[in-house]
């Protein structure tokens, strides 16, 4: 199986001197949930933001290495970043409903791309909300402001918002950190469904969530990739001592 994403010797340092990633090399498999876990400051979010070039908005001092998605280096200055961001969608830690109706939230990305045919947009709204496991709850109030929903519902709408663009890769940065267990469960279930057709990369908010959801898992510590292995194996018999110490809760 060919890796969907290939990261080669990626290093990155922010303008304020903090070194965020040190020589990361790894391959991400398609149609699976790959989990990046580890204590705060490990570089997981930074890596995610490299994958959709969201780091362009921040002050970066130096960066080197390549990230190949389907064989093309997306860190190349000639890359069409807009198209990349449609292909690689991101769900953030706090739900950020845009100040518009639920329907408009979902169609926002498509309208940016120039799509304004009512039928296409309507179909996309229904499709994405179903994929995000929230269609039944909101199908009768699509024109209500998205901000009126509960936290868990908002986050699933944010997921649907990303899915409407029919991405190939979905990045989730601690998506359930503010949510109650039931909503968390709904999101995790949706991910298991989604991995059948998408490449899912998840930064979990707890080791337990990582163990629950991971097909593959990578342990990050202070910018370095310590261990990367099969999900079942790494949480039961980790190879590195640091990985084991973190999973056992000896530090965090």
């Amino acid at each position: 199986m060919v890796d969907k994403i290939l990261i080669e010797n990626l290093s990155l340092q922010y303008a304020d001197g903090t070194e965020s990633l040190q020589n990361i090399s790894m391959g991400i498999r398609p149609n699976a949930v790959t989990v990046l876990f580890g204590p705060a400051g490990g570089g997981k979010s930074t890596l995610l933001r490299c994958l959709n070039r969201l780091n362009d908005l921040t002050d970066i001092k130096t960066s080197s290495g390549r990230i190949l998605i389907d064989g093309e280096n997306i860190l190349d200055p000639k890359t069409d970043v807009i198209a990349l961001r449609r292909k690689v969608g991101m769900v953030f830690a706090r739900p950020v409903p845009l100040p518009m109706s639920i329907r408009e939230n979902i169609t926002y990305g498509m309208e940016l791309a120039g799509e304004n045919r009512r039928s296409v947009l309507d179909e996309a709204v229904e499709r994405s909300l179903k994929l995000a496991a929230i269609w039944e709850e909101v199908k009768d109030r699509l024109n209500d402001p998205a901000v009126a929903l509960s936290g868990g519902q908002q986050q699933r709408v944010c997921l649907a918002r990303v899915l409407a663009l029919q991405p190939e890769i979905i990045l989730l940065d601690e998506p359930t950190s503010g949510l109650d267990p039931i909503s968390t469960g709904k999101v995790e279930m949706a991910l298991q469904e989604l991995k059948k057709n998408y490449t899912v990369i998840l930064v979990p908010h707890s080791v337990q969530q990582a163990a629950r959801t991971a097909d593959y898992a990578a342990f990050f510590l202070q910018g370095e990739l310590i261990e990367y292995d099969d999900g079942k194996k790494i949480f039961t018999t980790p190879k590195e001592k640091k990985t084991e110490d973190y999973i056992m809760g000896r530090f965090g």
């Binding site: 908005l57 953030f92 950020v96």
Partner: protein, 287 residues
């Protein structure tokens, strides 16, 4: 002495609070007093003829329509130049500018523009627009002068309104494949609009009430007709009030108060509209 104060802390506090409250009351009462007084004195002068008629007998009777229309023209003229430029500059500062020396220079320039005395603007307008560019004493020259004067207010309040929009909206928009301008137009500008509008109205309110900048650039005391083109001079409420209260002998006091009242109403209406926009937007905000 300090020990006296320490032991009697609560008495000191009560005295202090009373004093400060008194100060605040003494500051606020004149405001209300001024408005009530002018309404009381000027009210009797207001009639349909006063608002819609032309002055005659050297301004001593008749109406002040040309002054009202003139102030309207000047306000619109100021808006035409200062609003687009001001909002664009605010967008630059809020969305594009980096935190470097050039940006600090721009901010310093804005602070300076805000501090220049209004009469110096009048001199500048005279030198550049009236004389050098040969626009003559005209609505155009006066509007341009007032625009530059109003620019810092519009830029500051607009930038504040833009910055108030949560950063997370921008991040999400970009992550969905929007360009920076698309993000600004569809989300940031839209959400900041009430705040920007409030700032614009307050800025224009100030421009409408100014006399010094239009003294040598566009104001005239008596014109037989309403201005027909931007190159005509115009009467204006603040200038009119100034002249009839200082330079016209035997000016009926009631007409003076009436003119002051009309100017006050013009200005206060704008203020009230701005306040209403601001509070309604705050209630309807989805963040």
């Amino acid at each position: 002495m300090t020990r006296f104060f320490a032991r009697n802390r609560h008495t000191v506090q009560r005295l202090g609070f009373t004093l400060i409250t008194l100060v605040a009351v003494m500051t606020v009462i004149p405001i209300v007093g001024v408005i009530i007084f002018i309404v009381y004195q000027g009210g009797p002068a207001i009639s349909t003829e006063f608002i819609t008629g032309f002055p005659y007998d050297g301004m001593r009777s008749g109406g002040i329509l040309p002054a009202i229309i003139g102030t309207l023209y000047l306000t619109i003229g100021t808006a035409v130049f200062s609003v687009p430029l001001g909002i664009a500059a605010a967008i630059y500062l809020s969305e594009y500018a980096k935190d470097n020396q050039a940006t600090r220079l721009i901010r310093l320039a804005i602070i300076n523009l805000a501090g220049i005395p209004s009469v110096v603007y009048g001199l500048f307008g005279l030198g550049l627009f009236v004389l050098f560019l040969k626009f003559g004493t005209s609505i155009l020259a006066a509007s341009l002068t007032l625009s530059i004067m109003t620019l810092p207010v519009i830029i500051s309040t607009s930038e504040e309104a833009l910055r108030a929009v949560p950063q997370s909206f921008r991040t999400v928009s970009i992550s969905l494949g929007a360009t920076r301008w698309q993000t600004i137009r569809r989300i940031v500008l839209k959400e900041a609009l009430p705040g920007i509008l409030t700032g614009v109205i307050l800025g224009l309110e100030r421009a409408a009430g100014e006399t010094a900048p239009i003294l040598f650039t566009g104001a005239a005391f008596f014109l037989p007709r309403l201005p027909g083109s931007p190159f005509d001079a115009t009467m204006a409420l603040p200038y009119h009030l100034f002249v009839i209260s200082t330079q016209v002998p035997e000016m009926p006091i009631q007409i003076q108060y009436g003119t002051a009242l009309v100017l006050l109403v013009f200005v206060l209406t704008m203020n009230v509209i701005a306040t209403i926009i601001r509070s309604r937007a705050r209630a309807r905000r989805q963040w």
